[in-house]
């Protein structure tokens, strides 16, 4: 059976990051009202209280090709009215299939950069890939790297205080954080031309960093300062890539590694089994922390597609008993949930819903984990404290699950609380590889 990742609409990964920018006025060319309604609804719920502009679409508009003129007028109008630094044009499935002549749009209007961001969900496939496309599209607009460059460009949606903490560590090694994207301003991206090294902190910015390496000769390091081994390896990689004083690098890397270890020792998870599923891309890093804290994570289900950066993370996880399932699918995940007992589930909405129904403590990855730091000792302590708290709620989850179970005496896994019932599950489990 053909299977695409059960990702949130991939394009939303991009819309989300662009709508968060303070000096951008994004335009979303939707495939239809159903599509645009979804993006608008979700964006206004948890991205920003900012308008989403779109040219109207209908079969007649597509057939006549009249939309492009409207789009051009709209771009000019928005540029003149708001004078933003950036007007990103998110082109979703239908407009990208139709193939609008985006090269005919002005590239600059006054101080405003007009950037086309291609996001046909059927070929982008994942949320993570869409984020990579945003960075890639914006960076493509930049001039070549400057001659005098220094510091590290951090790439990845991380906790607001993470760049500050990382900067503090890097300064002890003789370098610093140059800029961080995706950031709230266009200048955060512009500053990338001054950096000497790219650090994609989440394992999916492979296209962006590859292109910057080819076009601008800017090298990149893999991994992130997460967990004991991860922190140590990342700091060494940065030191090596920038030719920093080896003794300083070794000293700082060892210090930070020991700090993370101390944090992990305060939150041991030995003997606990976790199921982790995510579509954000940093689920790899979370699993690292869980494993280093002593937990067993038999597999990681991720909507991220296999890419060079993820391979490195995958290897580390495989060496520690975790199989990575790319292109995660709801049905597979739900099937896997009943395959063995779990102490805690960190995953997507549907997966968590099933886990809670079974009395397993569960939290939604995007809401609970993506809003926290994972980096360095403070990040490890923060996220593991949340995990501990969730584990501690086991009895509460069980009590509710028992109440809703068919037989209140014995908690039997059932899928009964939603109408209408799903008849697909069993068949899909049978057909899947799990």
């Amino acid at each position: 059976m053909s299977k695409q990742p059960s990702s949130m609409c991939p394009a939303f990964g991009a819309v989300r990051n662009l709508l968060r920018m303070e000096d951008a006025v994004p335009i979303v060319i939707s495939s239809g009202d159903g599509c645009l309604y979804g993006h608008t609804f979700v964006a206004h719920f948890y991205v920003a209280n900012r308008p989403i502009h779109s040219p109207g679409v209908s079969s007649e508009i597509w057939a006549k090709g009249s939309m492009f003129d409207e789009l051009r007028a709209m771009v000019i109008d928005l540029a003149e009215r708001h004078r933003p630094a950036l007007i990103p044009i998110c082109s979703l499935c239908v407009s990208d299939t139709v193939g609008l002549p985006f090269e005919l749009l002005p590239k600059q209007i006054g101080n405003t950069e007009v950037v086309y961001v291609p996001l046909p969900a059927y070929s982008v496939h994942t949320h993570a890939r869409a984020k990579d496309i945003v960075v890639d599209s914006l960076v493509w607009r930049l001039p070549p790297q400057r001659k005098a460059r220094a510091g590290v460009n951090l790439i990845g949606e991380i906790f607001p205080s993470d760049p500050i903490a990382i900067d503090e560590v890097l300064r002890r090694m003789g370098t610093h954080v140059n800029t961080h994207v995706p950031g709230p301003r266009w200048n955060d991206y512009v500053a990338m031309v001054d950096g000497a090294l790219n650090a994609p902190l989440h394992p999916f910015y492979s296209e962006s960093v590859k292109r910057m390496k080819m076009k601008q000769g800017l090298p990149f390091v893999e991994g992130a300062p997460v967990g004991v081994a991860g922190t140590y390896a990342w700091l060494h990689a940065v030191g090596e890539a920038l030719g920093l004083e080896p003794s300083a690098v070794a000293r700082v890397a060892a210090e930070e590694r020991d700090r993370v270890r101390t944090a992990l020792d305060a939150h041991r998870l030995d003997g606990r089994t976790f199921m982790v599923a995510g579509y954000e891309g940093h689920e790899f890093l979370l699993v690292r922390l869980l494993i280093e804290a002593g937990a067993s994570v038999p597999f990681l289900s991720t909507a991220v597609n296999a890419n060079p950066l993820a391979r490195t993370e995958e290897r580390w996880l495989a060496e520690h008993g975790c199989t990575v399932l790319y292109g995660a699918n709801f049905e597979d995940e739900i099937g896997a949930l009943t395959a063995r007992p779990y102490d805690c589930v960190i995953g997507t909405t549907p997966l968590c819903a099933h886990a809670k129904e079974l009395g397993i403590p569960a939290i939604y990855y995007t809401n609970a984990i993506a809003t926290r730091s994972l980096m360095l000792a403070a990040g490890a302590a923060d996220v593991l404290a949340l995990v501990e708290q969730t584990l501690g709620a086991k009895r509460r989850y069980e009590r509710i699950a028992r109440f809703f179970a068919e037989d209140e005496e014995a908690l039997v896994p059932t899928y009964t609380s939603w109408a209408p019932k799903l008849d697909l599950t069993e068949q899909l489990i049978a057909q899947s590889a799990l």
């Binding site: 495939s31 309604y37 608008t40 209908s58 799903l422």
Partner: protein
């Protein structure tokens, strides 16, 4: 002023023409879903249905996971999948291959499969006609007009589509016999209707109250094979006017709309009673309700609470049912002045930019704004003093407790309670507060008397202690006050004057526009 909705509608009067929200050249913050979503919301509500959306993964996850979790508080619709189109299908292969796989899986266990087109599949001209033979069972293809229809038009067509295919659906056992007594169909809700769980509960309570039975709640409490049973009722009630009329007209039974407001509910009960031969029971129920459910209404109405109403202007932006219902109930029956009312969707829909202008320019600002998150954003962005009450999607909300109806007598009580509580809240927010500590005495009375003279003399404003206001400052203060709801205007006026004059004294100047602006900014709602 509008007239109350006439609850009893002759079948011939029901509009069967599919009405659509106009497609505009430019859209800011779209407020309605498209045809594929609307169709899915109907078919997925059937207990025996699996829905396969013929589109890329986002066309499935957006409406059936991400949005439904915040409209219906359901983690995801378990009976919806999609064909998961990739580049291969869109550019080369077409959707039939992947669609057949998905439909085959979905048809397992005898489920009725509905295939719904999406913008992408419509664009590449995908169709199911050739796939039919390959799959056991009888999947049905529904052309959602995803590029053109809004969610309401699609719901209306999908409901009619079910009726037209009623012979296609095979009941697993004996068909349920006709109810012994008089019975009604309730058409609606589907998934994704604001407040529908409460509205349905209240409507069922009213029906039971007059001694009638519910034949079928369609599609929400039905299976596809129940569709033919719609003919076994004595009347039809459309929960909302936005969709279901085409089906109601085809059924040809006496048809009613769910009532909003006191008088419309009374008329509804009497007319429904008459149509079902239950006049006496209807009258008895109304009498009972006056002493029970509506006792609360009468008490609130007799209280001073209602004295605020005439000076509490409101705005309503909602789909037609709630727009007309609230306009009549809050405007005509309760007497709250309607500052502005606009249709959210449908042919009369008002673009967001016009809603923004109307809300911003209204003087005084509406004290309460009933709307969606779009109005909520306008209030925040334009820093209006209005309070927001949600009465429509979009906008994440949890409305699964069934005690918050808009329709029926219980709805009249609930809405009255909401209005009063929100007005109390406005009052609270405008009273002087100890959140700011008491002002400390800096001087003795004697010193104050001497200093005031000195300051006034120095500023060249004459010998009296009245601080003068520049023309611009006066105008600005007036404009500001005009926007403030009436019953708190006196408090706000006092506060503004005291603080402005205090600032002027400190600076030794008259009250100028800059001072007023500073003070106004301090009191902007956050």
């Amino acid at each position: 002023m509008s007239t109350p909705l006439r609850p009893g509608i002759a079948a011939a009067e029901l509009s069967s023409d599919i009405v659509n929200t106009p497609i505009r050249k430019r859209v800011t913050d779209l407020d309605h879903a498209g045809g594929d979503t609307g169709a899915m919301q109907v078919f997925a509500a059937l207990a025996d249905a699996n829905v396969v959306l013929d589109g890329p993964v986002g066309c499935h996850v957006m409406p059936a996971v991400a949005v439904v979790n915040y409209t219906d508080s359901i983690p995801y619709l378990q009976n919806v999948t999609c064909s998961e189109l990739s580049e291969q299908e869109v550019t080369l292969a077409g959707t039939l291959g992947v669609l057949t796989e998905k439909v085959t899986a979905a048809a397992a266990g005898g489920r009725q499969v509905f295939i719904v087109s999406t913008p992408v599949s419509e664009l590449i001209g995908a169709s199911w006609s050739a796939g039919d033979a390959a799959v056991a069972g009888s999947p049905l293809f529904f052309d959602a007009h995803a590029l053109d229809d809004d969610e309401y038009a699609a719901r209306d067509r999908a409901l009619l589509f079910l009726w037209q295919h009623r012979d296609h659906f095979v009941p697993p056992g004996e068909a349920e016999p006709r109810k012994a007594g008089p019975s009604v169909n309730i058409i609606g809700p589907t998934y994704g209707n604001f407040n529908s769980y409460s509205d349905l509960a209240e409507l069922k309570r009213l029906v039971a109250g007059i001694g009638a039975e519910v034949n079928l709640v369609f599609p929400f409490e039905a299976s596809s094979y129940d569709t033919a049973r719609l003919a076994q009722a004595d009347a039809t009630i459309c929960l909302y006017r936005e969709y279901g009329c085409s089906l109601a007209r085809e059924l040809g039974l006496p048809t009613f709309f769910a009532p909003i407001g006191l008088e419309p509910t009374t008329t509804f009960l009497r007319d429904l009673g008459a149509a079902l031969g239950l006049q006496a029971q209807a009258d008895a129920f109304i009498r009972r309700e006056k002493k029970t459910t509506l006792a609360a209404w009468q008490d609130i109405w007799r209280s001073t609470h209602s004295d605020f109403f005439a000076n509490a202007p409101i705005a309503i932006v909602a789909p037609p049912t709630y727009l007309e219902g609230l306009r009549y109930y809050l405007g005509d029956e309760l007497g709250l002045p309607i500052a502005f009312a606009a249709a959210r969707t449908g042919p009369e829909s008002v673009p967001n930019a016009e809603v923004r202008r109307a809300l911003t320019e209204a003087s005084p600002s509406p004290m309460l704004v009933f709307g969606s998150i779009n109005e909520r954003m306008i209030i925040a962005q334009e820093q209006l003093p209005s309070r927001f009450l949600q009465c429509s999607f979009p906008g994440a909300v949890v409305r699964r407790a069934t005690g918050t109806p808009f329709v029926g007598y219980a709805g009249a009580v609930w809405l009255l309670q909401c209005v009063c509580e929100t007005l109390f809240d406005v009052l609270f927010a405008n009273l002087p507060t100890s959140a700011e500590p008491p002002v400390q005495a800096q001087t003795s009375t004697g010193e104050a008397l001497r200093e005031a003279v000195a300051i006034v003399a120095e500023a060249g404003k004459g010998r009296n202690s009245v601080i003068s206001w520049s023309q611009e400052a006066k105008e600005l203060a007036e404009t500001t006050l005009r926007r403030v709801p009436f019953f708190v205007r006196v408090s706000v006026n006092k506060k503004l004057r005291a603080e402005a004059e205090h600032a002027a004294r400190e600076r030794g100047s008259e009250v100028d526009a800059a001072i007023v602006r500073e003070i106004v900014a301090r009191y902007r709602p956050r």
